[in-house]
Point group: C2
């Protein structure tokens, strides 16, 4: 098979979800406003911010992108929480590159947290609480990137729809166990039937049926066992995964800003998805609509 044949770009797969939101917003003439807050001069981050603004604007959401100093960010979030004309808040991370970023993530009112990265939403996921709040029948939000990865797998037909265990008996390895992406993703995929090896710098855990357990498995063993490999390690120190480490026909997804795969892996994969970003933005747009329907209408 020719190099590049199996590469799937998420932008086209995301379009369907973006279009569905636009139709609903247009159909019901909804007036939704999102505040985007960016506190970095990093050029790729600024480009990403402009791209997200364009995506939101395109579906008919008023996306107000504001550049602020990092030390003003907390107050800007608190002001936006109190501002009834703001229905959703999007913060561009990293800001302080330390625990303070997690503190800030939790300053966003959960009713405006379109990334669903605050403890309010991740805790619901970890405890398998599917409702917005205890008096509601509405569904809880899911964090954008884990949800985006599941949607990408669904779009390419590797995550069954409308069945109890859509990814039953598959083995998945995820490199990343952050609280906003890796751990929620391991919980979601194992809850949907997969055996998930979750690696971080301190070693692996095995998730089955949304329950983690200790495991002694090595990177080599886990990769060779896997039907799906998902990577999100934003470090140049990570040893890139090469074709010799997995079986031909494995499905590979990278969501790190640095590719965690050696450049030539695609021709040995089932499908290679080198980035997730556009689907993440689509899921943030979807979450925005859901927050508006749940809390602001």
């Amino acid at each position: 098979m020719k190099p590049g044949t199996n590469i799937v770009d998420p932008a086209s797969l995301a379009q369907k979800h973006v279009d569905a939101v636009r139709e609903e917003i247009t159909g019901d003439a909804l007036k939704i406003r999102v505040l985007g807050l960016i506190a970095t001069k990093d050029k790729p981050s600024l480009a990403y911010a402009r791209a997200t603004k364009k995506k939101f604007d395109n579906v008919g959401i008023d996306y107000d992108l504001q550049h602020i100093e990092r030390l003003d960010l907390e107050n800007a979030i608190l002001d936006a929480n109190a501002d009834h004309t703001v229905h959703g808040i999007f913060v561009y991370y990293p800001v302080f590159h330390n625990q303070q970023d997690d503190y800030l993530r939790n300053q966003v009112d959960f009713r405006k947290d379109i990334e669903a990265g605050s403890i309010y939403w991740t805790q619901k996921l970890y405890t398998n609480d599917r409702r917005v709040n205890k008096d509601s029948t509405q569904k809880a939000l899911l964090p954008c990137t884990p949800l985006a990865i599941v949607k990408l797998l669904t779009e390419i037909g590797r995550y069954a729809e409308d069945i109890e265990r859509p990814i039953n008996d598959k083995t998945v390895t995820i490199f990343n166990r952050s609280e906003v992406i890796g751990r929620p993703l391991a919980m979601m995929m194992s809850n949907d039937g997969a055996r998930v090896y979750s690696f971080d710098i301190n070693g692996p855990l095995l998730f089955k049926d949304a329950v983690p357990e200790e495991t002694e498995i090595t990177r080599t063993q886990a990769l060779m066992e896997s039907d799906i490999i998902i990577t999100g390690v934003p470090s140049a120190d990570f040893k890139k995964i090469s074709t010799s480490e997995f079986r031909d026909g494995t499905l590979c997804i990278n969501f790190s800003s640095i590719s965690n795969f050696a450049e030539d892996v695609s021709e040995h994969t089932d499908v290679f998805i080198p980035r997730v970003g556009p689907m993440t933005v689509a899921m943030c747009i979807r979450n925005t609509l859901r927050l508006y329907r749940n809390f602001h209408e």
Copy 2:
């Protein structure tokens, strides 16, 4: 001056606070129960856990130390939150050595959070909200280690009592800007009048009157300007501070498990406090009593 002359051990300074709590508990015949949860086999951590249990037991608090697997810790915390016979919860960190530890810290009900390390309490400190809750006149809890450092400075007469700005015009450098120690401490000390240079791996900030601002100051400049140097970097990579880096007569405090000072600094200091632990435990004991009075009586 002879080596070691200026070294102050916090154990004797902590005793007064421990005794005050014991008197109150005995006097009012209070029945207070704390659950300590430890999920490591690390020997120094186990020794520290036994030592804390003894301290709590000695003031008349029933301290139930339980060893559990790290993957059972979250449920143990949730069970303790729901258990009306448990008035305080003490968790020994690190557990997962990643963001999941911060997640766990926030699973502890704030009414039982004797370390005051959850967002509920740190947010009150950051926003200068001094009350337990909006309907209360009772004082909010402060995180144990920052509070312990302030109390140590008070005990040795370097933090005035009963005045508006107890540490006015002093310059302080703190190496550590974690959400549970370094940042709260910088906020507290600058709120009390100090100019605080706060360093972490990403560089410095300057706190004045509980407001951080950007600064270009170097380690060398900050140390030379400082009246007080406080270190908490648990990394062997940190370049230990030597006597040539600060003025003779500077007050130095280390709260890291690894000393961040070169061994021979004490004779060039005003006072050298090589560890904070015993005062931290005393402040946890004090917080326990305060939580009991506020929420469980």
